[in-house]
Symmetry: C2
Subunit: 98 residues, 2 copies
């Protein structure tokens, strides 16, 4: 289906999904998960207006720890989605670790 | 902050959030929730490519029932977010009630 016929909401969902797969590890052993280092890069590159202090490694690691529900040291799609749903996102320019 | 300086991901998040509030009940007693009828309209108007059969009232009601975690007959932001995270969304043109 041609991109432009999708609604604005559908296009936004596709951006969110595509962004996840942009940062997913290319390592075959770690399918469909984002490594800690890639997740930090994503925060700095993709969410640096909505989140402040994204360059702060300690803050980023704390956020990753909060999101990493199964504690495997990587971020799955559902854990990624929780980040975007959390209050940090809805109220722009929120410190990473309020 | 000017819209255009947000990243593509941040703009997509804003679209998702704005869409929720576009359908939220204006009724003061029902703050920050989407009514069943408004949610049906949203499915038909905003997700009619990613979801098929959005006009099917029975299918829509079943989806709403699945999403309505606290069974108050309305859709909160978190419940709305669950819809967008679910496999229906990630694999376009999926039947509402697979």
């Amino acid at each position: 289906m041609a991109e432009e016929c999708y609604t604005e909401l559908e296009q936004a969902i596709q951006v969110l999904v595509a962004n996840f797969y942009k940062y997913v590890s290319k390592h075959s052993l770690v399918r469909n998960k984002i490594s800690k280092s890639s997740f930090r890069k994503m925060l700095q590159k993709e969410l640096n207006h909505m989140l402040t202090d994204t360059g702060n490694r300690k803050a980023a690691d704390k956020l990753i720890q909060n999101l990493d529900a199964n504690h495997d040291g990587r971020i799955s799609f559902d854990e990624y989605w929780t980040l975007i749903d959390c209050p940090y996102m809805v109220y722009p320019a929120t410190d990473l670790c309020k």
